[in-house]
């Protein structure tokens, strides 16, 4: 891109895809914003009218909103902590020359290939079922009461499922970062008298900081909108205990047929996601600058 002509040609060539992407984003967003200002309920067709911020007022003052906001943050935060710490530990393990490393790596990566719905079903019916589940069998054979996960610890159960799904992603990214750590640096630290723990905290962890940032940013984007795991297992309950923002929007739109209210909820979710994103980028995004 050195001459003016080639710069212009580049812009012209890339314009169609940029315009298409822009429309792809702006049309649904614009329509959602428009709907959010309407009284628009599918049970009363033809009654649509402009009502300003009433939908927002209802959504934001609803106690379900604050409960689901809290659930969303707890879910995202817990899964991030579990996957980052677990990912580092698994990455460190898989970076060692251990027996069967190739097979182990595939096993560790495989949960990522399972679609969320199937993942949730497996956990619900095969593992966490209080009567026939694997965990219940372990508990009873050790003489304990089985835990009814989805009744007594529903949010914890969701967190475990989602963390299991996302652990491979974190492991994969962190493992590649670990593999790019210069062996000389570790040896230099060894010569400097650093033990394995000091090497981890002074050399390995700083080296991983950029990869950890990437994991946190990408996972946050996806974890803010966890839906299938909740839909398949608890349906947001009991009560509101596993309802996150995404699920709340769904209940507004499809269980109460309130398109206007759901749109307002969607816009609130978009704004919240942006707040979280700005916060994250401020906090850890500086790691991405070389």
């Amino acid at each position: 891109m050195s001459t003016r002509a080639s710069t212009l040609a580049g812009r012209v060539m890339s314009a169609p895809s940029i315009i298409a992407l822009f429309l792809w984003m702006i049309v649904p967003l614009g329509m959602t914003i428009y709907f959010s200002f309407l009284r628009y309920n599918l049970l009363t067709p033809g009654m649509e009218e402009w009502i300003g911020f009433v939908n927002y007022k209802f959504f934001l003052t609803d106690h379900a909103f604050f409960a689901s906001l809290a659930n969303t943050l707890v879910l995202v935060g817990s899964v991030l902590v579990i996957t980052v710490i677990g990912g580092i530990l698994l990455g460190l393990m898989l970076d060692q020359p251990i027996f069967g490393r190739g097979i182990l790596r595939i096993l560790v990566i495989s949960p990522f290939f399972i679609m969320p719905t199937v993942n949730a079903l497996v956990w619900k019916n095969l593992l966490m079922n209080p009567v026939s589940g694997f965990f219940a069998w372990i508990s009873t054979s050790l003489g304990f009461q089985p835990i009814d996960w989805f009744t007594n610890a529903p949010l914890t159960a969701i967190i475990i499922m989602v963390a299991w799904q996302w652990l491979p992603f974190a492991t994969l990214i962190l493992l590649t970062a670990l593999q790019s750590l210069d062996r000389d640096q570790k040896e230099a630290a060894q010569m400097d008298g650093a033990g394995p723990i000091s090497i981890f905290f002074y050399i390995t962890l700083p080296h991983l900081s950029r990869a950890i940032t990437v994991v946190i940013l990408i996972e946050t984007i996806f974890l803010l909108s966890v839906f299938a795991e909740i839909f398949v297992t608890t349906g947001g309950g009991p009560g509101l205990s596993t309802t996150n923002i995404a699920f709340l929007v769904y209940t507004q739109a499809l269980l109460q047929y309130d398109v206007g209210g759901a749109s307002a909820g969607g816009i609130v979710a978009v704004i919240l996601a942006n707040i979280v994103a700005i916060f994250l980028v401020r906090l850890i995004g500086k790691n991405l600058d070389a």
């Binding site: 000389d184 230099a188 010569m191 000091s198 002074y202």
Partner: protein, 334 residues
Amino acid sequence: MGAIRLENVKKTFGNIDVIPGVNLEINDGEFVVFVGPSGCGKSTLLRLIAGLEDVTDGKIMINGVDMANESPAKRGLSMVFQSYALYPHMTVYNNIAFGLKMAGETKAVIDEKVRNAAKILNLTDYLERRPGALSGGQRQRVAIGRAIVRNPAAFLFDEPLSNLDAALRVNMRLEITGLHQELKTTMIYVTHDQVEAMTMADKIVVLQAGRVEQVGKPMDLYAKPANKFVAGFIGSPKMNFIEGDYARARDCACVGVRPEHLLLSTEQGDIAATVKIAEHLGAETYLHVNADNIGPMTVRATGEVPLSGNDRIWLTPDPERIHRFDKNDKAISN
């Protein structure tokens, strides 16, 4: 204090003998250079001394104590890596201070030592920078600084100059030599470059395939190579080897003559030759010639020599300075 003695040090990887057994004495304060072609085991030997590889067998005596099974930190040595291996997320200050911090020194002691090292190495202005913002030569100095502050029994250098450009390499060569004269600490330096070996070393160890071929002062190796390998490796351009009738007439399998010990004449001499290529460097001239009945040879003539391709010349080896080798490549003393 840093006297190091290797007793029958062996290293095998799988069933390959990388180092079949090395005995070596390094005196306190000596500048020792391990030199040899790539893959000769010189870096492995250095890493064995450093403790970064386990010895298969043998003793590594550092100041009279066998350290062969101790961790690298306990041996009291410090190392400068070919890639420098600086910690990229730490400032120059913290890079140099890291070893002291690990040793549990107090802040005041660390500060004094780091600033002192920075002064010796002209790094004072760069202490707050990260390695990424430094030039190659400066990084090299930080790596040396990191080695100095720990006040080691000996410094180990693993091809430290090979990532620098030619001009900087000459500079750093002088700086390291100067540093050795100032600190008077034992230094072990690994290189494949015989020029570095010749210019820096008190003692050169020539290695080939994990075996020590010869140990000695640079000029001793130059004047009295123990075998054909050392003769060919030390000195640039390489020594000419002449076999056949010429060697048989002198009771040996092979005669070696350095390019600088050939008397050049355009009229008469022992060996007739045709110039193929003449490299004029100003101060000296390298002539690549094809000698009759012998083959290619190299001649080094001082000053400007008005010769070019296809000129006929005659060469006479300096009889005092020819080297004779038997059929096992061992040198025959004159």
